[in-house]
């Protein structure tokens, strides 16, 4: 429940204790107490995090920034972490991962999510076109190890590309709110100035905080950025000469992430680089060499292996397994493999052939695989 003032908060705590009690559970059994609370307010829940969209902004043509007011079950997040957001589109629930971009000091009554609508992005396009204040969404608690450490580093380098800006934006805003005194370099890559989300706020922060250095790199020519072109070692060495000393946080498209990781690995400072994959590299699908069948044991379905990920193959077979990020970070799709071997699309690693939990969104079958689906 939403708690705004101290007295309401107190009342809310007492009410929550009653609603979460065993008596309440026995009264509602076999249904959950939430199913009755929903009658009064769609955001009321004893355990689930639900949120109301309170504001919708379009900072660039293809992006949308949502302000959410979560219910009191929201436990807050660490700058850099992500949440799983679930919306219902034409009757079907869809879950995707987004990193809150607000400062952790903005209070628990407020979460800001920004998403860029990709041409193939079903949920991001829906949010850009359909999100309105008053809309109710479901959230998970914050998750992920990509986050500012509690012991703040002395020197921070934030590198991002495209909509990978959101988790590092949360870090920048959080550090500024804390009157952090160390030096921060905010290095961001995008195609053109018009695509830069948070352009005005970044400029304002850089102007206000002398310890924040803003480096905008645009790949298209004739843009008014501090840097030009894609990430390269020489450019980095000139623009951020002390990058070796900095604790670096990286989030961006796969190509850029790879290039940055390579530099850090070559310099032997890989442990100073923290990263978040926000889009998966397109998995290498080898349909020509796909062999065997995919067996879905519980639903008693069988499909010829076409080389795609098990999640895609399950969906093509008409199943609707739970899934979230579709890139192997959120573990929503984790499912029991009963037999067979799979290859991790991210690492190329082969699994055991026995009974184990696998993430089906990043696993392709190698030969016949049986899933408990």
């Amino acid at each position: 429940m939403i708690a705004n003032s101290p007295s309401i908060r107190l009342l809310s705590t007492g009410l929550r204790r009653v609603l979460g009690s065993r008596v309440a559970a026995a009264m509602a059994a076999p249904h959950s107490v939430d199913r009755y609370l929903e009658l009064f307010d769609p955001t009321w829940s004893v355990h689930e995090v639900r949120a109301e969209v309170t504001a919708v902004r379009h900072q660039t043509a293809d992006s949308v920034t949502l302000t959410l007011r979560p219910n009191a079950n929201w436990q807050g997040f660490r700058a850099g972490q992500f949440v799983r957001l679930t919306v219902e589109i034409d009757g079907v629930r869809r879950t995707r991962c987004y990193s809150p971009a607000n400062s952790v000091h903005a209070g628990n009554e407020h979460i800001e999510l920004t998403t860029k609508a990709h041409p193939t992005g079903f949920v991001s396009k829906f949010l850009r076109d359909e999100a309105r204040p008053g809309m109710i969404v479901m959230l998970s608690q914050a998750d992920g190890s990509f986050a500012l450490p509690d012991q703040r580093p002395e020197r921070v380098l934030l590198i991002s590309g495209g909509s990978g800006i959101t988790p590092v934006m949360a870090m920048l805003r959080t550090l500024c709110d804390e009157s952090y005194t160390g030096r921060i370099t905010f290095l961001h890559y995008s195609n053109a100035a018009k695509d830069l989300i948070y352009a005005a706020e970044l400029a304002a922060i850089a102007a206000r905080y002398p310890n924040v250095e803003l480096l905008r790199a645009f790949s298209e020519s004739e843009q008014c950025g501090e840097l030009q072109g894609l990430f390269q070692r020489e450019q980095l060495a000139t623009a951020v000469p002390d990058y070796v000393e900095a604790t670096t946080f990286l989030c961006g498209p796969p190509g850029m992430m790879k290039a940055v990781q390579k530099v850090w690995a070559e310099d032997g400072i890989g442990e100073r680089l923290h990263l978040e994959n926000f889009t998966a590299a397109a998995p290498v699908i080898d349909s020509a060499n796909a062999e065997g069948d995919v067996r879905f044991a519980r639903s008693e379905r069988l499909a010829a292996n076409n080389g795609a990920t098990l999640l895609d193959q399950a969906e093509a077979a008409g199943l609707r397994p739970e899934a979230g990020c579709r890139m192997g970070i959120c573990h929503t799709c984790t499912c029991r493999k009963l037999s067979g071997q799979v290859r991790d699309t991210r690492t190329g690693e082969l699994s055991d052939s026995g009974d184990e939990d696998i993430q089906i969104c990043v696993s392709v079958p190698v030969g016949t695989v049986t899933l408990d689906l």
Binding site: A26, M27, A29, P30, H31, S32, L39, G91, V92, R93
Partner: protein
């Protein structure tokens, strides 16, 4: 003479394709309309339940409370519980409306029910020895069931089954007759199987007959009696709807041999011949969980039930095209026909054959039920 033998293998294939076509068209069209329908219904059921339980505590509104709680329990079990646990709304991805998670306001555990109902009853509809819903191990519902003296009690036992339906269904998966009569199951095994059932039963009994009466304080007797009445109303109604769906006199029942090499087309036709509809208005359909469209439900058990009314004309047209019966009638007519069968079968019939033996595999012809 069964309708099975009138059809050629090509016709079975064609019928299979036609029914698959209906199914695929509805599946492709599922969306917000279906989500809104089931959510709206869940909301209405919760309102009736909360309202009903409050009204039971206030003497002047007591009769209304009984009515509201009865309707709430019927909706919970039939149009919501039965249909959600069939997986009709799994495609929505809502954990609260998912067949894996849903549990209903009934003494029966969701897990046991999905086994006896979704697996045994729906896969082997009206196949003797396979479909336990044929008589629930209690009644003689087919001439091919060997007559035993205990079946003289067919009629009073049917009344008993209606009265305590939720508890009979709860113990259905235990197959008690195998312990008491056929001695093919041990008492120890029965005790083990009863544990999860008792756990659920206990919770349900405690909720309706201890917790809510206690909460009502001095009104406890009113609430207690009101809950008895609501559970009874739900039991009788649910049982009557289910009996109407499979036991009117013209509905066929089948020997196990029918399952050998059964194609999709054969399966569809068996479902069709083994089910019966009854007519009514929108309210009748909702209150019966759309099992008034038992035929459509058995052809497409995992399509959202509120769609059955829409596809019924197409199903009927296919039946007419292939000369197959489409068994329907008024609720009372079907009920009367069902009770006639129950009464007749309580007495020995001439063509009763042994049922606990291997089925005669020389003929693929189903056995017609009408005496």
């Amino acid at each position: 003479m069964s309708h099975f033998s009138k059809l050629s293998p090509e016709q079975f294939t064609a019928i299979g394709a036609e029914f698959d076509g209906i199914r695929n068209r509805v599946r492709a069209d599922l969306g917000e309309r279906d989500a809104n329908y089931i959510r709206g219904l869940v909301k209405r059921q919760r309102q009736l339940e909360v309202g009903g339980r409050i009204m039971l505590m206030i003497p002047p509104t007591w009769p209304l409370g009984v009515a509201a709680l009865s309707v709430s329990k019927i909706l919970d079990n039939m149009e919501i519980g039965h249909n959600v646990m069939h997986g009709q709304y799994d495609w929505m991805g809502d954990p609260a409306l998912n067949s894996k998670n849903f549990d209903w306001d009934s003494a029966d555990t969701a897990k046991n029910w999905k086994q006896t109902h979704n697996v045994e009853h729906h896969t082997y509809t009206n196949v003797l020895n396979r479909d336990h819903d044929v008589g629930y191990g209690l009644l003689r519902m087919s001439t091919k069931q060997k007559w035993e003296p205990r079946f003289l009690a067919n009629v009073p036992l049917t009344v008993l089954l209606h009265t305590f339906f939720q508890h009979f269904v709860a113990v259905q998966n235990l197959k008690i007759e195998e312990v008491l009569i056929y001695k093919t199951k041990t008492t120890a095994q029965l005790k083990e199987d009863f544990k999860p059932v008792w756990k659920k039963m206990r919770k349900q009994l405690a909720k309706d007959y201890v917790l809510y009466p206690v909460l009502a304080g001095p009104m406890a007797p009113f609430v207690f009696v009101g809950n008895v009445a609501a559970n009874l109303a739900r039991n009788v109604w649910a049982c009557a709807v289910i009996f109407n769906g499979h036991f009117p006199e013209d509905v066929e029942q089948f020997p196990e041999s029918v399952l050998e090499n059964e194609t999709r087309g054969h399966w569809y036709v068996r479902q069709l011949l083994g089910s019966a509809n009854f007519s009514g208005g929108r309210l009748m359909h909702v209150m019966s969980g759309n099992l008034s469209f038992q035929i459509e439900h058995h052809l497409f058990p995992d399509l959202p039930a509120h769609r059955y009314a829409e596809i019924a004309p197409q199903v009927r047209a296919i039946c007419e095209k292939y000369g197959l019966p489409y068994n329907t009638g008024s609720f009372l007519g079907q009920a009367l026909s069902t009770w006639k069968r129950i009464f007749k079968l309580s007495l020995p019939t001439r063509d009763s054959g042994p049922v606990r033996q291997e089925p005669v595999n020389s003929e693929l012809e189903p056995l017609r039920m009408a005496a």
